[in-house]
């Protein structure tokens, strides 16, 4: 009965799109209600920080930037805990023209590279560091909302997410004219799209957190098994989206969410090794000021408490 439903909200990191399909499917199919949660999905936006909204209690759950933003928030003393990781591998890739001057990462030197300073820059820095290149050896610029400068040849290397910009680029340039650089090829993984709750929630309402995870998992599994239906659900929330792009997005997101440790342990798995590697890297490059208590920041107990069968895609 409705009276027993517990009110809660999920703050996304961006506006409704297939990147968040599982949550929308779970809500549409009543999985949250079945778990006793009356969930409101709040989209994000530019200049909104999920960590902040969750820490202050404005929202119960959050799908925030990634491991990097969780570290930064903990470093600043925001009382949040990560309860699951969505994208197991780095969603960013660096794209260049096949027939262009950049053949290897060493060729980045002296070239114009654009990237976002919202997390992707750390990936770039990490890859450069592995290759022994200093950031000031190339021209790193903030990246536009548009891929046009790259398409027009004014930029040598551009940052893209597998699921969004890469699609736009491919739709405006011949597919086989592109060459990509992938972080994992350089031994780096920055898991992103982290699920977070306030410390107080984790401590006082563990059942709520588990219920939320259970329902979300069901939603995502449904989304993966019926992508067309899932895109329908998303587009009901945001009807002006481009269907083909959303279907592409869901395919890519599925790949990111089920890659790596998730293939064995299931969706939202927290890969402690990957987290530790990322933490050490951020510490080394001064993104965070001091070592963090990783066990406190990443609480895998909630996701682990769910039977493996329910987690596996």
């Amino acid at each position: 009965p409705a009276a027993e439903l517990q009110k809660a909200s999920l703050r996304l990191k961006w506006l409704p799109q297939a990147q968040f399909a599982g949550f929308y499917v779970a809500a549409a199919k009543g999985y949250y209600k079945a778990e006793g949660i009356d969930l409101t999905i709040n989209p994000g936006g530019p200049n909104l920080l999920t960590e902040n909204l969750v820490a202050t209690g404005a929202d119960t759950f959050g799908l925030s930037g990634g491991t990097d933003s969780v570290f930064a928030a903990r470093d600043k003393g925001l009382p949040i805990v990560c309860i699951g990781v969505s994208h197991q591998i780095t969603p960013f890739i660096f794209v260049t023209r096949k027939d262009g001057p950049v053949k290897t990462i060493q060729d980045f030197k002296g070239k114009t590279v654009t990237t976002w300073f919202t997390g992707a820059n750390h990936v770039l820095n990490g890859m450069l560091a592995k290759e022994g290149i200093k950031p000031d050896e190339l021209k790193i610029q903030p990246q536009q909302v548009s891929v046009t400068p790259f398409v027009d040849g004014n930029v040598d290397v551009i940052t893209a997410t597998y699921y969004n910009e890469f699609y736009t680029i491919q739709s405006r340039m011949p597919k086989d004219s592109l060459k990509t650089f992938v972080a994992e090829d350089y031994g780096i993984t920055f898991p992103r799209d982290t699920l977070i709750v306030a410390e107080a929630t984790a401590k006082e309402k563990p059942e709520l957190v588990k219920a939320f995870l259970r329902a979300s998992l069901k939603g995502w599994k449904d989304a993966f098994s019926d992508p067309k239906g899932a895109v329908d659900t998303v587009m009901a929330a945001a009807p002006t989206l481009d269907r083909a792009q959303q279907e592409f997005m869901l395919t890519e997101v599925k790949r990111l969410m089920t890659a790596g440790a998730a293939s064995k342990n299931g969706i939202f798995w927290i890969d402690a090794d990957a987290v530790k590697t990322a933490h050490d890297f951020f510490l080394k490059y001064g993104v965070i000021s001091k070592p963090l208590d990783l066990a406190a920041a990443y609480d895998a107990s909630f996701i682990q408490s769910i039977p493996a069968a329910d987690r596996l895609p």
């Binding site: 530019p46 200049n47 909104l48 920080l49 960590e51 902040n52 820490a55 202050t56 930037g65 933003s69 930064a72 928030a73 600043k76 003393g77 925001l78 300073f117 919202t118 610029q141 903030p142 990246q143 536009q144 909302v145 548009s146 046009t148 400068p149």
Partner: protein, 252 residues
């Protein structure tokens, strides 16, 4: 607005009293309720942060003001130019005015996606946005000023044998100045805000960019420091044009 600000010393004292009370309330709330910085930092913390990051903030303010000035200048030129063109060739009025009104009926921020896509996230998109925001106000105030001219004064000039251009130069432009300058004064604050708002959607520098970065780094003291600087920059710009206005319009 300027009249309300430029009052005798009792008014100034009261103004200072008001400001002090506001700051005291803010400081008291933040400290008394132990609000974390990400909810509301104390004024003293903001000022300390401002001082610590002054180099960055001054750079950013310079960048933003550059955009605002350039866009403001461009917007004024466009607005004045169109108004003068309409004054010299009245047939243009029915062509330009409806178009300008239609363009202006969409809030400026609505254009930001298009402008960012067309002009990139560099300085040019900010300049274009500011120019768009400013030019319409200037066009309207300049036109109102030019139209305000006394018909009889125009007749007087014509009776002296003055040409259309002579009437414009010696009579209509000076007549339009008070309204034009009032429009220019109001547009100053707007130009800075539009520059900052556009920066937040994508930029390579400036106060909006600093605010955006600070939000991502969860550095709310810096967010507020940048807001303080933005506010001070706007006030300075406003004051500058207000000062010029009083200098130029000695006769009013």
């Amino acid at each position: 607005m300027s009249r309300a600000l430029a009052s005798p010393s009792l008014a100034v004292q009261r103004g200072i009293l008001g400001a002090v009370l506001l700051i005291a309330c803010w400081e008291g709330t933040a400290r008394g309720l132990h609000l974390p910085a990400y909810v509301l930092p104390a004024v003293s913390d903001i000022l300390v942060g401002l001082w610590a990051k002054r180099a960055i903030l001054i750079d950013a303010a310079g960048y933003t003001l550059l955009e605002a000035f350039a866009g403001y200048g461009l917007g004024c030129l466009i607005g004045i130019g169109l108004a003068v063109a309409i004054a010299l060739v009245p047939a243009l009025r029915s062509a330009i005015l409806p178009l300008a009104t239609a363009i202006n009926s969409v809030p400026v921020v609505g254009y930001s996606p298009l402008i960012l896509l067309w002009f990139g996230i560099g300085i040019s998109s900010k300049i274009v946005m500011v120019a768009m925001a400013v030019s319409f106000t200037i066009l309207l105030s300049m036109l109102a000023g030019l139209d305000r001219v006394d018909r009889r004064a125009v007749d007087l000039m014509r009776s002296f044998g003055a040409s259309r251009f002579g009437v414009l130069w010696r009579l209509r432009l000076p007549t339009a100045l008070p309204l034009l300058l009032a429009g220019m004064r109001v547009s100053t604050v707007r130009s800075v805000i539009v520059a900052i708002v556009t920066e937040m959607l994508g930029a390579q520098g400036g106060l909006g960019w600093v605010i955006y970065q600070a939000v991502l780094q969860i550095d709310f003291v810096q967010v507020w420091s940048a807001i303080f600087v933005a506010s001070a920059a706007s006030l300075a710009f406003f004051g500058l044009i207000g000062f010029l206005e009083r200098k130029i319009l000695f006769w009013t």
